[in-house]
């Protein structure tokens, strides 16, 4: 584990909530919320120190074992992997395990983050120990019950596949013992298995939710159907922060099935809610609203102008993120031995397949909410605030989500808030708020646009001696409850992957500018690494080409000796990517490696050019994620995560604004990768390890785009520093 260091005293910060924040050694935020008594978020209790097994395991009479998952399942597979961990230590019969998503409750908070959430690739990393202990405690209680029944000692018993075996051929199924076991004291300490005793952990275990997702029976948030439920859509202002001036809703109200039309406040500005019996009616009604917006005094961002401003800023020093070695070292390098590179990254929408939604029913002194949420604690508090309720008066159900990638972890909880505002007016009636795809693509909360400007001074041996790096982009964290992660004017999430690089750069200077722009921004799967890894890995490849050294060999040489995980994946990749040395004409291999969220990844791709676009024939990936709890799931995350990462190479992989208006509307204008745009085959190799598991949700994303353009550069001799990649 990385050292946990308290960074700042928050008393001098004018924030209602009080947050202690630490930074893990290799990226990833560790956050715990503390109480200062003034804000609803802060009033949240910390997670308990001891987790009661009965909140996580329920042995049914029919032998089924229901295991509660303290996370959102949105594709990453925790609904299978976390139960695997618990079931293994419990010696449960895996074929009888049923997984359930936990509602919002203190006991289900992330043990490290202190709130209930999915993020920072922390689900397995933070709950591995927790779920092992829970399983071991449940097992100990079942064994104690059996030992009592047979009048033997627990150490005379052993367990396997949900059965306790005692001396003299005695045996009892867990389902027979559960009643007695529940009355046993919860053991304070338990002995965990030696990894060699694992029966489920480390095996390629198929997903528990596979069948239901193949026959249409799996319900997602958007599929919720409650008696008397109404559907709500909101007309949002065309420019972020715009306000309603006037609305003519006569045509909308004249439609059969329209129940109400009214103004609601938004996170910024205001909008018009339309409530109807059915989605199609609500949509038609919203289309018929004649709205005049008040845009006076609202900043109308324009990405062409912003880019010019960012580029100009990038030529100046920002706030210092890292100052290592001699800042003047660059001046001693002849200009011919320097690279100056400027990179452009656009805004990106997450665009999860399931449009954003939240369902809320308000009943005066209590409420119930059904949300596919990555941020249960925050969303529950937000709904309570809107309805004048304490969080515990809001029963909060975690619904399955159709993807998320960060978009369902929003500090202002704007979607659940909108739903709660509408439900408040329709007291007693459940209301499902749906953000249409257009609402989502135009609705902000994007990966921020960035410019990087880098100057590298190269030594005689071809290795970098001096490196000046300026990052320009909006802060993700400023103005949120996580603002304490902005230190000395530098948002840590903007420089992760650069300032903490594992490459050995003797004179290294990293600064950052964070302009304020009227575009809501949000973490996008792998956060700062989406752009930082692209910059670092394309530049290192360029250095390797200049030095005429094999790209894997060059990286090994440049990596610090203690970057053990990265060395291990480069070694494995080298073994597994022999194909790259014998490619047909017109094809080239590209390499990239990167560590994020404590997981190291190296990737090789085989690329050709078809119709001025990259065609990716294959990818080979090496991963070091510590112990791979479910190698099948790791493989899937890496195959899919590479594809997700390619979003930023798509010709239509950008959100742009003109005069304050988002220019894209749907998947016609903002087009993520389809089947022909991802590698035809992806083989994933995992470095064998018994170290603590680290995350696999985000680490696949950063490596793929630099690997692909590195291959393109080898085919064309050009460098690719502007995204999206319109043409090769």
């Amino acid at each position: 584990m990385p050292p946990i260091v308290k960074t700042e005293d928050s008393r001098n910060l004018n924030r209602r909530s009080f947050i202690q924040i630490t930074t893990a050694a290799t990226g990833g935020l560790l956050i715990s919320l503390y109480l200062d008594g003034s804000s609803a978020i802060a009033q949240q209790a910390p997670p308990p120190k001891v987790y009661p097994p009965d909140a996580f395991v329920h042995v049914r009479r029919d032998g089924h074992i229901v295991i509660t998952v303290n996370r959102l399942e949105f594709g990453q597979g925790v609904q299978t992997s976390l139960p695997m961990i618990l079931a293994d230590e419990m010696d449960a019969d895996w074929s009888k395990v049923i997984a359930e998503l936990a509602p919002a409750a203190d006991v289900y908070k992330d043990p490290l983050f202190g709130i209930q959430m999915v993020g920072g690739s922390g689900s397995i990393a933070h709950s591995f120990q927790q779920y092992r202990e829970l399983g071991a405690k449940a097992r100990a209680m079942l064994v104690a019950a059996a030992a009592d029944r047979w009048k033997v000692t627990p150490d005379q018993c052993r367990t396997e596949n949900s059965i306790v075996y005692g001396p003299g051929n005695r045996l009892a199924h867990y389902s027979e013992l559960a009643g007695d076991a529940a009355r046993k004291p919860v053991p304070q300490k338990v002995t965990l298995k030696n990894p060699s005793e694992f029966r489920i952990i480390g095996k390629r275990v198929p997903r528990l939710d596979s069948k239901s997702k193949c026959d249409g029976s799996q319900k997602f948030g958007l599929d919720l159907d409650l008696p008397g439920m109404k559907i709500a859509l909101v007309a949002h202002p065309p420019v972020f922060g715009g306000r309603l001036k006037s609305v003519d809703d006569r045509a909308a109200r004249s439609l059969d099935g329209v129940r109400d039309v009214f103004e609601i406040p938004l996170a910024k500005g205001s909008g018009v809610a339309v409530v109807a019996d059915r989605f199609w009616t609500a949509k038609q009604a919203r289309d018929r609203l004649k709205i005049e917006w008040d845009l006076a005094g609202v900043e109308r961002p324009d990405t062409v102008q912003l880019l010019a401003r960012y580029k100009q800023l990038a030529t100046t020093e920002g706030n210092v993120a890292l100052n290592q070695g001699d800042i003047k070292a660059m001046d001693r390098i002849p200009r011919a031995n320097r690279i100056v590179a400027e990179y452009e990254f656009p805004y990106l929408a997450h665009a999860p397949m399931e449009p954003l939604n939240a369902t809320v029913k308000f009943e005066g002194d209590k409420a119930e909410a059904w949300v596919p949420s990555q941020f249960q604690t925050m969303d529950q508090v937000a709904i309570g605030e809107v309805l004048g309720l304490k969080p515990e008066q809001v029963t909060f159900h975690t619904e399955f989500a159709g993807g998320g990638f960060g978009r369902r972890a929003v500090t202002d909880s704007h979607v659940p808030r909108e739903a709660a505002l509408i439900a408040k007016r329709l007291r007693g009636t459940p209301v499902k708020l749906i953000w249409s795809r257009e609402d989502d693509v135009r609705g902000g909360y994007y990966r921020p646009m960035h410019v990087h400007r880098v100057e590298i001074g190269i030594g005689r041996d071809g290795m970098p001696v001096a490196w000046r790096h300026v990052v320009v982009g909006q802060s993700l964290l400023a103005g949120t409850p996580f603002a304490m992660m902005v230190k000395d004017g530098v948002d840590e999430t903007a420089v992760e992957g650069t300032k903490d690089t594992s490459y050995s750069i003797p004179n290294f200077h990293v600064t950052a500018h964070h302009p304020t722009v009227n575009v809501p921004v949000l973490w996008w799967r792998s956060v700062g690494h989406t752009h930082s890894a692209f910059v670092m890995e394309t530049l290192v490849d360029e250095l390797a080409i200049r030095a005429k050294v094999d790209p894997i060999a060059y990286r090994r040489k440049l990596l610090k000796a203690d970057a053990k995980k990265l060395h291990s994946v480069l070694d494995l990749l080298d073994q597994k990517s022999g194909w790259r040395k014998a490619l047909p004409k017109g094809r080239a291999a590209g390499i990239a490696c990167h560590e994020s969220f404590e997981t190291a990844v190296a990737c090789a791709v085989e690329v050709s050019i078809e119709n001025k676009r990259p065609r990716i024939h294959r990818a080979t990936v090496a991963v070091n994620c510590g112990l791979a709890v479910n190698p099948l799931s790791v493989e899937s995350q890496f195959q899919g995560g590479l594809g997700f990462g390619l979003t930023q190479l798509m010709a239509k992989g950008a959100i742009t604004l003109k005069d304050g208006l988002v220019e894209q509307r749907n998947f016609d204008g903002y087009a993520p990768p389809y089947i022909m745009e991802v590698p035809t085959t992806i083989d994933v190799h995992i470095v064998p390890s018994t170290e603590a598991p680290t995350g696999c949700g985000e680490p696949p994303v950063p490596v793929i785009s630099p690997a692909v353009v590195n291959a393109l550069s080898r085919l064309t001799g050009k460098r690719y520093r502007t995204l999206p990649l319109i043409t090769v």
């Binding site: 594709g75 990453q76 597979g77 198929p206 997903r207 939710d209 596979s210 069948k211 239901s212 997702k213 193949c214 026959d215 249409g216 029976s217 319900k219 997602f220 958007l222 599929d223 159907d225 059969d256 059915r278 989605f279 199609w280 009616t281 038609q284 665009a351 999860p352 397949m353 399931e354 449009p355 399955f400 989500a401 159709g402 993807g403 998320g404 990638f405 249409s436 795809r437 257009e438 099948l632 899937s636 995350q637 195959q639 899919g640 995560g641 594809g643 997700f644 749907n666 998947f667 087009a671 993520p672 990768p673 389809y674 089947i675 022909m676 991802v678 590698p679 035809t680 085959t681 992806i682």
Partner: protein
């Protein structure tokens, strides 16, 4: 509002809706067949794919008033040997992640295999090329289609 008689997964249904209502919302809200998904509303993502008269159709853009043939949705896909083989192959290959797009992926794959029992990579890309998966499960989708194709042949032999 108008009444429409639909044959859905072999059953006769009558719905009373606005004629412009896309088939998608009739399936989801009137008939409670929520396996068919809303993803974009402009036939750009394929999450809403169903079969109408055996043809893979984007139900989000077809008004119910224009439906003229029997409809099969993901809930009815397993009644047919090709559909069953595709669903089994999807489970066997552990294709799904979030799963939201997979009803549409599976319906497109069934239509492909009914027309082209031995699809090439190009056939797969052409037939599946309009089905978006943000989890990018595409590699496994390819494997599952190939596996289903094999299973269907073995079943027929």
């Amino acid at each position: 509002m108008a009444k429409y008689r639909l044959t859905v997964n072999g059953s006769e249904k009558t719905v009373d809706v606005d004629p412009s209502t896309p088939l998608l919302w009739v399936l989801r809200e009137e008939l409670k067949l929520t396996g068919t998904k809303y993803g974009c509303g402009i036939s750009a993502c394929g999450a809403c794919t169903v079969h109408v008269s055996g043809v893979a159709t984007r139900s989000c853009v077809v008004p119910v008033s224009l439906i003229g043939g029997p409809i099969v949705t993901i809930e009815g896909a397993g009644k047919d040997p090709v559909g069953r083989a595709v669903q089994n192959a999807w489970v066997e290959k552990d294709v799904v992640q979030c799963g939201y797009c997979q009803s549409g992926q599976i319906m497109s794959a069934i239509a492909l295999l009914k027309e082209t029992p031995n699809p090439t990579d190009t056939n797969i890309e052409e037939s599946m090329g309009g089905n978006l998966c943000r989890c990018a499960t595409y590699v496994r989708i390819r494997e599952a289609i190939t596996s289903a194709s094999r299973q269907i042949k073995q079943g027929a032999a």
